[in-house]
Amino acid sequence: MSEKRAITVTVNGTKYERKEVPVRITLADFIRYDLGLTGTHLGCEHGVCGACTILLDGKSARSCLMLAVQADGHEILTVEGIAPSEDKLHPLQEAFRDNHGLQCGFCTPGMLTTLLEFLRDNPDPTEQEVRIAISGNLCRCTGYQGIVLAALDAAKRMRATPA
C-alpha cells in the first residue's frame, strides 16, 4: 500500500487541490493523469530526453525526476500555459510554426518550456548558446536545424514585443 497525501499546486495559473495523491507518483504522471494536461510528454522517464520539461517557480525542471508531493505549494507552467489565449500563440510558438521547428511534435513541449526560460534569461543568444540550451532535449525528427532557427527567430520576435 502506498501512502497518500493532500497537495495544492498552481498549474498555468489555476489552483488545484488534490486530497489523495500517492507519494510515489512522479510530477509528470500527476500532471498527465490526474490533471489531464497531456501536453507534457514522457520520452524516457529517467531524465535524459527533456520532453517532460516544465517550469517550476519559473525554472525549468524535468517533471519525471520530481515527485508530485514535492510540488506542493509551488507554481508550475506546462506547455498548455504558454499561449496568451485560446486563439493566439506565443511568439515562441509562432516562430516554431514558421521555421519548421517541429515534425511529430513529441519533443516540442520540452523544447518550448526550456527555451522560454532560456530566452527570458538570455534574450539575444548566439546560435551556439541556443544549441547548448537545448542540449538536454532530444528530437528524433528535425535534426535540430529548424528548432535552432525557430529559437533565434523567437528571440528576435520577443525582443521586438517584450511580454
Partner: protein, 293 residues
C-alpha cells in the same frame, strides 16, 4: 506509477532528518533527485522510506569564511553557476559546473547530492578532490568533518554512517589571481565525462608555486596526479613541461567499461591533464580543442 512503493518523509530540520535516519530501516535521502529519481523510476533502488531534504531549512547558502568557501549541501547547482562569489573566488568550481548536465538538471541538482552520489565522473566530486575540500556531516552526536580525500569509500559510496547527513562542503580558497581550468571528454555536450581533468596553478615570479591536478572518470573516485604536481612545481609553465609531466598519467590505474577501455582512459588522462594545465596557464588560447562554450 514508476517508483516502487515507499513511505515519504519531509523533515523541516537537520535534527529531524537525522532522527528519521536513526529510526527507519532502508531509507534513502532525496536531495535534487537527478540521480535517485531515475534509479527509483527504473527500480534500481527499492527503499522503504524516502526522506526528502527539500524542505529542510538552512542547507542552501554560499558564503566565504576566512579564506574558505562554504556551500550548503542543498544549494542547487544553478545557484553555484550564477554566484558572483564563486566566479570571483573559486573559478574552477564555476568552470566545472558548466559541464554538469543541462540547465534543467542544474536547476534541481544539488552540491551535496552530487558529492554523496559519488559518481566517478561527477564534476563536483573532482572539484572537491582538487580543492582539498572538507565535508561537514551531521549525525546523532553532532557535527564532524571529513577530509574529501577520505570521503569516497568505494564505488558510489561515501564514508559516512547510515544515520549521518552531509550538510555542507568547505573549499579552502586559493590565493587571488590563481589560475584554473576544467576540461573533459564526453561523447555529447552534457553527457557524463569519460575522463575529466581539473587544474589549479598558483604562479609566482614566473614559476609555479603550487599545483593541483585531478583526473576524474578513470577510477572509482577522482585521483590526484601527484607525480605531475611534483614535476611542475618550481618550474616555469610551458607546454613542453606539461606534456612531459603528464605522461605519468598513463600509469594511473584505470577502469574499463562499455564507454572506454582502461588504455584509452589512461591516454585521455595524459592528454586532458596537459590540456587543463595549458588552459589554466593561458597557453591554449589558439588550441584547436579549446572551443568557446
Amino acid at each position: 506509477m514508476k517508483p516502487p512503493p515507499f513511505q515519504y518523509h519531509d523533515p523541516k530540520t537537520v535534527a529531524e532528518a537525522v532522527g528519521l535516519l536513526g529510526t527507519l530501516d532502508n531509507a534513502k535521502l532525496l536531495a535534487g533527485g537527478q540521480s535517485l529519481m531515475p534509479m527509483l523510476n527504473m527500480r534500481f533502488v527499492l527503499p522503504d522510506h524516502v526522506i526528502d531534504l527539500n524542505r529542510v531549512d538552512g542547507l542552501s547558502y554560499i558564503k566565504e569564511n576566512g579564506g574558505t568557501l562554504e556551500i550548503g549541501a542543498m544549494t542547487r547547482q544553478r545557484d553555484v553557476e550564477f554566484s558572483d562569489l564563486v566566479r570571483a573566488k573559486c573559478p574552477l568550481l564555476h568552470q566545472a559546473i558548466m559541464h554538469i548536465g543541462h540547465r534543467q538538471t542544474r536547476n534541481r541538482g544539488t552540491i551535496g547530492g552530487s558529492l554523496c552520489h559519488l559518481d566517478p565522473a561527477a564534476e563536483l566530486v573532482s572539484v572537491a578532490m582538487a580543492m582539498d575540500a572538507t565535508v561537514v556531516v551531521s549525525g546523532p552526536n553532532g557535527q564532524r568533518e571529513i577530509k574529501f580525500a577520505d570521503f569516497p569509500a568505494g564505488y558510489l559510496t561515501p564514508s559516512i554512517e547510515l544515520n549521518e547527513i552531509v550538510t555542507a562542503v568547505r573549499l579552502p580558497l586559493w590565493p587571488a589571481g590563481h589560475k584554473s581550468a576544467f576540461v573533459e571528454f564526453s561523447r555529447r555536450h552534457g553527457d557524463f565525462a569519460i575522463v575529466s581533468a581539473a587544474a589549479l596553478l598558483a604562479i609566482d615570479g614566473g614559476k609555479i608555486a603550487r599545483a593541483s591536478v585531478t583526473i576524474g572518470g578513470v577510477a572509482v573516485a577522482p585521483v590526484r596526479a601527484t607525480d605531475v604536481e611534483k614535476q611542475i612545481t618550481g618550474q616555469a609553465p610551458s607546454s613542453d613541461l606539461f606534456r612531459k609531466a603528464c605522461e605519468s598519467c598513463r600509469s594511473i590505474e584505470a577502469m574499463s567499461d562499455i564507454h572506454a577501455s582502461a588504455d584509452y582512459r589512461q591516454h585521455l588522462a595524459a592528454v586532458l591533464s596537459r590540456r587543463a594545465l595549458e588552459k589554466a596557464a593561458g597557453l591554449a588560447e589558439n588550441a584547436p580543442w579549446n572551443r568557446k562554450h
